[in-house]
Amino acid sequence: MRHFKHWFYALVLLLPLAANAAVKVDKAAPQFSLTNSQGENVNLADYAGKYVVLEWTNHLCPYVKKHYESDNMQALQRKYTDKDVVWLSIISSAPGKQGHVSADKANELTQSRNAAPSHVLFDESGDVGKLYGAKTTPHMYIIDPEGTLRYAGAIDSIKSANPADIPKATNYVTAGMTSLMTGSAIDKKVTPPYGCSVKYKS
């Protein structure tokens, strides 16, 4: 009986670890391959040698809207794609859940919102989201040219749905990219992300 109890503990201890594959900053960013809104296959490995920003998104989530309706997110996308950074917007919403869109709709949203991601990727099964431990939309990650994850967490420092808070907050993506591009260490490598929950399948 004691055996069983200990195996049970072991299993149960490990289970949540499996579910929340601990994504570790300063370790290699997990590889993945997803389909984009043009129907093409996109691999993270394709971008070795470049900075990659991952943005988990859901266009109906009020916290994502906060950053899109204020042009804040698009401005970041433009700024960094101009500097040859690869910006991947990832939608992990399961079919039927908020934020799940068809390829056409995704392209239409990119147009209408004047967004500038390198790709919009669909992660319907939620596997890549879980691989990265993506909890909220928005949830931001920065990967350096060597493939190491350097930042994971919130987009900025004020946890609210109010666009008026954007100018008052510290933008962690800007801070992270600036530090990395000038060769210095990132001050806050992890910050607790805020937003709506990612609408996983289960």
Partner: protein
């Protein structure tokens, strides 16, 4: 009343209500100084998508300097929920900013017990259904003669405004904002409002006022926390911070009844959040079992400072009380030490000497007290020096050296011989011992004191052990204080006898019985020698004991001879005796008892670097466990992994060794070992396959982790020999 008047009145009433509603629901441009009007323009409740929010008051009026409560009632639609102060993996707690037309002190939101709301594989903390967030408020009475301005006058009703923000979710989330206000009159008596029942009911859902204390440690993947739950139940810890633990992780609780304080504590392992970035600051949690809740403040477990209080002030208070208690114990121990078999004979000789003496008021008697104090301070100094040089020592450390045991045996035999008058008495070297302890001079009293401390060392009185145990691991000043208390307790009886005529009058009058008594006292001395011989056996084996007993016999013979022979020959005999004592002590101590101390229950070997090297050279599997009494994670591992039957069976195998390093008192060897593996603390688990490989195990173990590592090491050794 005429018809027209009635209609007119009705019209007026309707008009009034409309304008009141109109005034309430429209915003009025703010004009400085007309704050009252502006604040009054907000409603006391508002509706947003899927939620209604209201601002309620507990009492119908405000009384100056008496606390009341306001409440924000969140009423989401069925299946929609709002959030706790830490929303969990996603979401946002409601916030409120207050304004008032009067001087009111607003407190913090009193959060009722939240639920854990699962969302896919993640977890949020929040509330479904109606939730009242209460906030204590106190109207501060203005200065007596000062205020004339209408805003601070207490005759007008006070308007309170709340700027509220919230997030309400079912699966999708909708944020909302509203400004609500209510207007309350002031009065001199507090009366309940219509909403007071709701406030009362909500109070029952609040966590307890009392904060519990806890300690936490940070491991690679877990936070280990130790606390005392008020009663057994299915507890969960909900952190105040969102970046602390994995909210969806399972919390593993273990009861630990095996600690020094004798109370059962609960240890829990919390999986760390991916966003964890805490360094040693106090952490706050809500501990709840779904029905009731307690707030917990956890302090960082910095190497064994497990005290009951977490605040530094009360920690200070408690340690002062603890020291005072220990000093009292030490004092009692010192008193009791006076009647221990090792000490009693020596003191009795002295007491008898006192009984014979004419002048009980001789100040030289203070020499005894001073002798004792100095001896104990000397002991304390040795202890502190050894501690400073990194040696882990406990009271009785001197008894771990065989040579000291041997020397003490000779001393005690000599005293017994003295009591039987077999030892030479008289002038010169021979009589020196006697003179030193039986004379009246200051130095004789002094040396009696020193001798008393020396003979006391093999005996430990009950209270003394605790006190000394504490002294050994405490800062220098505590050690010195405790040893001083011990010295005073020890010296007290004899000093009283010596200086107080009243006490010395208690001594029986001299007579023939004294001679018989003196001879009798030799026997407790010899009993102590028997005990010392037993200890010596364990230290040096049967040969060593044989040497010592033979030596003691030769010594006794020589002393007897010295007594019988004339002066010069006597001196020779005496010198021979002393030489014998010295030589035998050294020789006998060089023997080593055969089997190294092995704890047969768990087959643990004590860690020393040499032992580890030796075992590695044997090309066997070695499991090293660096632990400490105060380490929470170690205790959890003890219960989960090390009590596993398969693992215990495995450790019994001949070619697998289990080495344990106890870092409770911080010794240098273990520190060096830890540094080697870039650790600064315990636990550290390493499995060696002989000299070939070393594998560091995770800080939180399961039986399978350890068993697999051992089996892997065995495999490697087998492969190597193939």
């Amino acid at each position: 009343m005429s018809y027209i008047v009635k209609v007119f009145l009705i019209f007026i009433i309707i008009f009034q209500s409309f304008s009141a509603v109109y005034a309430q629901s429209t915003g009025v441009q703010s004009i400085d100084g007309e704050k009252v009007n502006e604040l009054q323009s907000y409603p006391s409740s508002a509706t947003g998508p899927h939620i209604r929010v209201s601002l309620l008051n507990e009492h119908a009026s405000l009384v100056p300097n008496v606390t009341s409560h306001l409440g924000i009632l969140l009423s989401p639609n069925p299946e929609w929920h709002t959030y706790w102060r830490n929303a969990g993996d996603s979401g946002e707690p409601p916030t409120v900013t207050w304004q008032s037309s009067a001087d009111i002190e607003f407190g913090e939101i009193q959060w009722p017990l939240p639920e854990q709301i699962p969302v896919a594989h993640l977890v949020n903390y929040g509330y479904s259904g109606d939730t009242l967030l209460m906030v204590p408020i106190t109207l501060l009475a203005p200065e007596e003669k000062e205020s004339n301005s209408p805003a601070t006058s207490l005759t007008n009703p006070i308007v309170i405004t709340a700027d509220l923000s919230w997030l309400v979710c079912k699966e999708d989330c909708i944020p909302g904002w509203a400004t609500l206000s209510i207007s309350l009159p002031t009065s001199s008596q507090q009366t309940l409002s219509e909403h007071s029942t709701l406030f009362e009911n909500t109070r029952a859902k609040l966590p307890s006022d009392k904060w519990l204390n806890a300690q936490y440690e940070i491991n690679e993947q877990y936070i280990a926390l130790s606390t005392q739950a008020p009663y057994p139940s299915d507890w969960q810890l909900l952190p105040f911070r969102a970046d602390l633990i994995q909210h969806s992780g399972t919390q593993q609780w273990h009861d630990d009844s095996n600690n020094e304080e004798g109370v059962t504590r609960q240890n829990v392992l919390l999986s760390k959040s991916d966003y964890f970035s805490v360094t040693n600051e106090p952490l706050a949690f809500l501990m709840t079992d779904g029905k009731s809740g307690y707030y917990v403040e956890a302090a960082f477990n910095s190497d064994g400072n497990i005290s009951g209080e977490s605040s530094s002030q009360s920690e200070l208070d408690q340690s002062v009380t603890a020291i005072a208690l220990m000093m009292f114990f030490a004092f009692l121990g010192g008193l009791i030490l006076n009647i221990m078999p090792c000490v009693l004979p020596v003191l009795s000789i002295k007491a008898l000497a006192l009984a014979n003496e004419a002048d009980p008021k001789n100040v030289n008697h203070w020499g005894y007290l001073i002798g004792i104090l100095i001896s104990f301070w000397g002991f304390a100094a040795i202890v502190l020096t050894l501690k400073a040089s990194g040696n882990a020592i406990g009271w009785g450390f001197h008894l771990q050296e065989p040579i000291i045991i041997a020397a003490l045996s000779f001393l005690f035999v000599f005293i017994a011989l003295m009591l039987w008058d077999v030892a030479p008495s008289g002038a010169g070297l021979a009589g020196m011992g006697q003179k030193l302890t039986q004379g009246n001079s200051f130095s004789s009293q002094f040396f009696t004191g020193v001798l008393a401390v020396i003979v006391a060392s093999p005996c430990t009185a009950p209270f003394m052990a605790t006190a000394l145990g504490v002294a050994m691991v405490s800062p220098a000043i505590t050690t010195i204080l405790i040893f001083t208390a011990l010295a005073l307790g020890f010296a007290l009886p004899m000093t009283l006898l010596a200086i107080s005529p009243r006490f010395s009058a208690l001594l029986p009058k001299p007579g023939n019985w004294m001679e018989t008594f003196k001879q009798f006292l030799a026997f407790p001395m010899l009993a102590t020698v028997i005990w010392l011989l037993w200890v010596f056996l364990a230290q040096t084996g049967s040969f060593g004991q044989l040497w010592l007993t033979a030596g003691l016999l030769a010594f006794a013979l020589l002393i007897w001879l010295a007594n019988k022979l004339a002066q010069k020959k006597s001196l020779i005999a005496l010198s021979l005796a002393i030489l014998t004592a010295g030589y035998v002590s050294i020789e006998a101590s060089s023997f080593q008892a055969e089997s190294p101390p092995v704890n047969n229950n768990t087959l643990e070997l004590a860690f020393t670097p040499e032992k580890l090297k030796e075992l590695k050279a044997d090309e066997d599997v070695i499991l090293v466990n660096m632990t400490a009494d105060w380490c929470i994670t170690c205790k959890v591992n003890e219960q989960v992994a090390f009590t596993d039957e398969t693992l215990q069976q495995l450790l019994l195998q001949d070619d697998i060794h289990y080495v344990v390093g106890d870092w409770t008192n911080k010794n240098k060897e273990i520190l060096d070992y830890l540094t080697q593996y870039q650790r600064s603390g315990v636990p550290l688990y390493v499995v060696y396959a002989g000299t070939k490989t070393a594998k560091v195990l995770p800080q939180v173990l399961t039986p399978s982790i350890v068993i697999n590592a051992i089996q892997q090491a065995q495999q490697e050794l087998n492969n190597a020999t193939l």
